[in-house]
């Protein structure tokens, strides 16, 4: 997996810069590729700063587990998993409470974009593998997953795109790095449907005033729209205009 440093897209503004030199509304270098795995029905690879995320989609396929089946539509199932070598201290393989929660909210974040009524009694599996983590993996996972779903040919009303905002050193900033997430006062991951700007994921961890929240949400939407362009480019690169 080659790291390609994308040129910085945001103009510097006069607010105080961050530890890694970014402007408050600047995302880390990002790269997305679609359709990189052979066996999966759809796949994508995403790098965002130090994050490396691989997503595979299988389906729609028959739901093996009967109780999962819905008579009128397909179900989406997500599995967010971190590689043991993805973090500083080796992570024990297998799901923990954090990854189970992220899997659940990821499925719910993606669900509104999918047209599932065409595939009754089937399941769409989304496997998100965090190969390397550097803050903001759940958002990166959602962004990459929707590219992989599109690559799998799953009918969708829109892409889903996610980006975190938060409060670091009293400033509202976009796309928190691992350092900023650790030190910061608040972290707020947001996913949207870019066409109508509806929110499909909202979490917040830390303290924000109402004003700060509004500012953060606005910033998150701005960030999502930027990332959405890169999602579309990845699909265009794979499939042409």
């Amino acid at each position: 997996m080659i790291i390609i440093i994308t040129p910085r897209e945001f103009k510097r503004i006069s607010e105080p810069a961050r530890e890694d030199g970014r402007a408050p509304d600047e995302i880390r270098p990002i790269k997305i590729e679609a359709g990189i795995l052979e066996r999966a029905d759809g796949s994508s690879y995403l790098e965002l700063g130090g994050n490396k995320i691989l997503v595979a989609v299988y389906g729609p396929r028959e739901a093996q587990i009967k109780r999962l089946q819905r008579p009128d539509r397909a179900v989406i199932r997500c599995r967010y998993n971190m590689a043991p070598f993805s973090v500083e201290e080796r992570k024990r393989p297998g799901p923990d409470r954090r990854s189970v929660e992220i899997s659940k909210i990821t499925a719910e974040a993606l669900r509104p974009a999918l047209i599932l009524e065409k595939f009754p009694r089937s399941v769409i599996d989304v496997f998100i593998e965090v190969l390397e983590a550097e803050g903001g993996t759940r958002c990166a996972g959602i962004t990459a997953a929707s590219v992989a779903l599109a690559d799998a040919g799953i009918p969708m009303k829109d892409m889903v795109v996610a980006c975190a905002t938060g409060k670091v050193n009293g400033n509202i900033v976009l796309d928190l790095s691992e350092e900023e997430d650790k030190k910061g006062e608040a972290d707020m991951p947001v996913a949207i449907l870019p066409r109508n700007k509806q929110i499909t994921l909202l979490q917040s961890d830390g303290n924000l005033t109402e004003e700060e929240f509004k500012k953060a949400l606005n910033l998150a939407i701005k960030g999502c729209l930027k990332i959405n362009k890169i999602q579309k480019e990845a699909l265009k690169k794979k499939y042409g205009e």
Binding site: L37, A40, A56, R79, A83, F85, R90, P93, G94, F127
Partner: protein
């Protein structure tokens, strides 16, 4: 297990009996091999290997821990593999199944028994502190022959691994991250896996071949031709001639594999 139509089975078998393969390879030919190291910045060593369309990532994370009581002066390697559900429609999420455990154990055996890694040099304080190396195999795309791809990726990741140097001052271990050093690797061992199909044995079975094989044989071999690990699999038997032939081909192929590894990521 995928279900293979009878007609595909017959087609592959008939071709192989005529010494041909569906993908045009010779019976003793590997698929295209791609090796890349240093792919995971947060791992002390890592590699990505593609063998045809089979693809995996290996990451190595060290820790300091206690040695086993019977080997107080030796470091420890712990090999673990995940056949991720992303890699194949037939892989299920959940704790490692028997296939995954067999894979990790065979890879572990090939590395350990070849003595390519001098475990004594991974001892810090005899009886109390040694390096533990976690070797994690992450299978992301499965198109047959995980064994050879996994051993190759593990060896590449071991060669990529850098540990901090250690000093002991007043019974405390001091890790010097400014002076990193490579692992004490003294040789290279790799693996060749064969499938018995019809009355032939073929090297590096792809997924379809793996599904229809009657027997499988993996041979781990050091650069000097010493066999360091073997594993027979599959429901059918092998003849002594099959095994001797497999060893002969392995002896030819291992130096070529080592050469390719050296060329891609530098000599040992």
């Amino acid at each position: 297990m995928d279900i293979i139509p009878e007609i595909v089975r017959e087609n592959i078998t008939n071709l192989i009996n005529k010494k041909e393969r569906t993908d045009g390879r010779a019976l003793d030919e590997f698929r295209e091999i791609f090796i890349e190291t240093g792919v995971i910045t947060k791992a002390e060593g890592s590699a990505r290997v593609k063998l045809g369309n089979t693809q995996l990532i290996v990451g190595i994370k060290p820790q300091i821990g206690e040695p086993f009581p019977d080997t107080p002066d030796m470091g420890i390697i712990i090999t673990n593999s995940e056949l991720l559900p992303m890699a194949s429609p037939t892989f299920e999420p959940g704790p490692p199944d028997e296939r995954s455990i067999e894979l990790s154990r065979v890879v572990d055996r090939c590395i350990r028994e070849s003595k390519m890694l001098n475990l004594e040099k991974l001892c810090i304080i005899e009886g109390s502190s040694v390096w533990l190396l976690f070797i994690d195999l992450h299978i992301i795309d499965y198109d047959g022959n995980l064994f050879d791809a996994a051993v190759l990726a593990t060896v590449a990741a071991l060669r990529d691994t850098k540990l901090p140097t250690t000093k002991i001052e007043e019974d405390e271990i001091i890790l010097d991250y400014d002076n990193l050093q490579p692992l004490p690797l003294e040789d290279t061992a790799l693996m060749c896996t064969f499938a018995k199909i019809g009355d032939q044995i073929v090297l590096d079975p792809n997924l379809d071949e793996e599904e229809i094989l009657t027997a499988r044989l993996s041979i781990g071999m050091r650069s000097d031709g010493i066999i360091c690990a073997m594993q027979k699999g599959g429901e059918g038997p092998l003849t002594i001639e099959d095994i001797e032939k497999a060893i002969k081909i392995t002896k030819e192929k291992i130096p070529q594999l080592i050469e390719q590894l050296d060329k891609t990521i530098g000599d040992l």
